[in-house]
């Protein structure tokens, strides 16, 4: 609970409430503006009249002007694939670091942590080369592959696994569980909140990721929505702002709706993921 004794009072309280609201207004302003532009005819995109008619025409035109359905499908495939691979790899590695004694454990863990600082995001030139050598350039797999072994996930899950009481582990082994059986029956169920937190962070990261997909993809069949949106709005097709804004809202809608519905889980997940 907050420190009630230091709650602002009187004039200070009014001033702070006003400040908080001004800031809040500034923070939603760009979004409100985007909504206004997207839901009104082009001639009202920069004119604010209460009588301006509402329309969905901009969305219809945006949807027709580029293969957004395909882009969405690509993003969904990408995000699912990355998350599935991450969950498996990260679980196994975290289990190894948390509960097994083997030579080189600390050195290997330090090597894992390197990725927290030097992310695949900055190693674009060399990773592009690797994808060329592997012959998988311009595929959804090539977008996701560099992110599948996630140091962040290993770190997060290792912390959680370490809090599992050893007695539970040993009891399961006495019952005849193999190490993988123990992982599946004891550790994974107990780490459910961490998995949820990690999944939300991972999904929003890869839904939003842009630079690497921009570099490695070159066709409608593999482009995620972020890159699709950029290709759509950068090519000069004489599109007006209303259509571009509608497309922008369209591409963010699934995430935005999910966030508004599961606000609490999102905020808590980001919090949990950040506190280590």
């Amino acid at each position: 609970m907050s420190a009630l004794v230091y709650q602002p009072r009187g004039a200070v309280r009014g001033l702070e409430t006003a400040g908080a609201w001004v800031l809040g207004f500034l923070w939603v302003l760009p979004l409100l503006y985007a909504f206004w532009t997207a839901f009104h005819p082009a001639e009202f995109s920069t004119r604010f009249a209460l009588a301006a008619p509402l329309t969905l025409d901009n969305f219809v035109r945006a949807w027709a002007a580029a293969p957004f359905a395909r882009y969405f499908l690509n993003t969904v495939v990408l995000v699912t694939m990355v998350l599935a691979a991450q969950l498996v790899l990260v679980t196994l590695a975290a289990y190894s670091f948390a509960r097994f004694e083997f030579p080189g454990r600390n050195a290997l863990f330090a090597l894992v942590l390197v990725q927290l600082m030097i992310m695949p995001d900055v190693l674009i030139v060399e990773n592009y080369h690797t994808m060329t050598v592997l012959g998988i350039k311009d595929t959804i797999l090539s977008i996701g592959l560099p992110y599948m072994a996630s140091a962040f996930g290993i770190f997060l899950l290792r912390q959680t696994f370490k809090t599992v009481p050893r007695e539970l582990d040993e009891a399961a082994r006495v019952e005849g569980c193999t190490p993988l059986g123990v992982l599946w029956r004891v550790y994974v169920p107990l780490a459910r909140p961490t998995y949820l937190a990690y999944a939300l962070v991972s999904v929003s990261y890869h839904w939003n990721n842009f630079l690497w997909p921009l570099i490695i993809t070159n066709s409608v069949e593999s482009r995620p929505v972020t890159v699709g949106l950029q290709v759509f709005s950068a090519t000069d097709q004489g599109l007006d702002w209303s259509v571009i804004t509608a497309a922008t809202l369209l591409t963010t809608a699934p995430l935005l709706v999910a966030f508004l519905l599961f606000q609490k889980q999102f905020v808590q997940s980001f919090m949990r993921a950040g506190i280590r």
């Binding site: 004794v5 602002p8 302003l29 979004l31 985007a34 196994l92 674009i124 690797t130 842009f210």
Partner: protein, 291 residues
Amino acid sequence: MTRSAQWIYGWLLLLPAMALLVLFTHYPALATLWQSFFSTPKGSRGSVFVGADNYEQLVSDPIFWQALSNNLWYALGTIPASIVIAILMALWVNERIVGRGFLRLAYFTPTILPMIAVANIWLFFYTPEYGLLQQFLSLFGAPNHNWLGSKSTALPALMAVTIWKEAGFFMIFYLAALQSMSPHLAEAAAIEGASRWYFFRRVTFPLLMPTTLFVLVNAVINAFRLIDHIVVMTRGGPDNATALLLYYVYEIGFRFWDTAYAAALTVVLVTILALVALAQFVFLERRVHYQ
């Protein structure tokens, strides 16, 4: 379980993740360093060892120096501001303020939007003549100004976008820290007659230090890693005024296809990130001893 079984299990469980990490983090980091001493293959002429040529080119490349200084200004302009705003936001939504739920939502929403979508929206916001910002300023008789098109305002305009996007993200960490603070501290301080500002300065803020350190490291990494908005809003222009280091790597590597020079530039970028890591390690160590 025997000792050797422990070893084998440990290694085997680690193997798949480690293989991918090596392939896409450690190997490319080392390969970049290696490539930076070779020339870019051109036509029939393959890549040859050129020693420090790429680095000599880098030292005498004014655009590199500009990108580096842009990036430092960008970090300096965005990080302290984001942190101050984040602390303010956290303090506010931690109080019993009117409309707390809405404010929390308003502050946090930019965080979950893709940077590229955000950039599109802000691009329109900054448009000369029609953009909302210009319309607002015109009410006060301000002359028309191309915010992203002039050298003096382009980088600050991008900084505003970054602050807007990141402050809400950092807010939640401060909020978590504030909520885990014992109310007895405030009660004791109030009995001692400490003012509200004094309490914040001498108790709350120092207790938030670990959070600030965490946020700081993240913010620095992001300042060097996230360039999506540059691709959309300015493409490094006008006249390289908004070229950040990673954007320059992208331009050299994927628009001019000079991979060797891009490798040398990447080495500089990775070195900066490694220094951040080192600084964090040293600070964390000190904090551990301090406690």
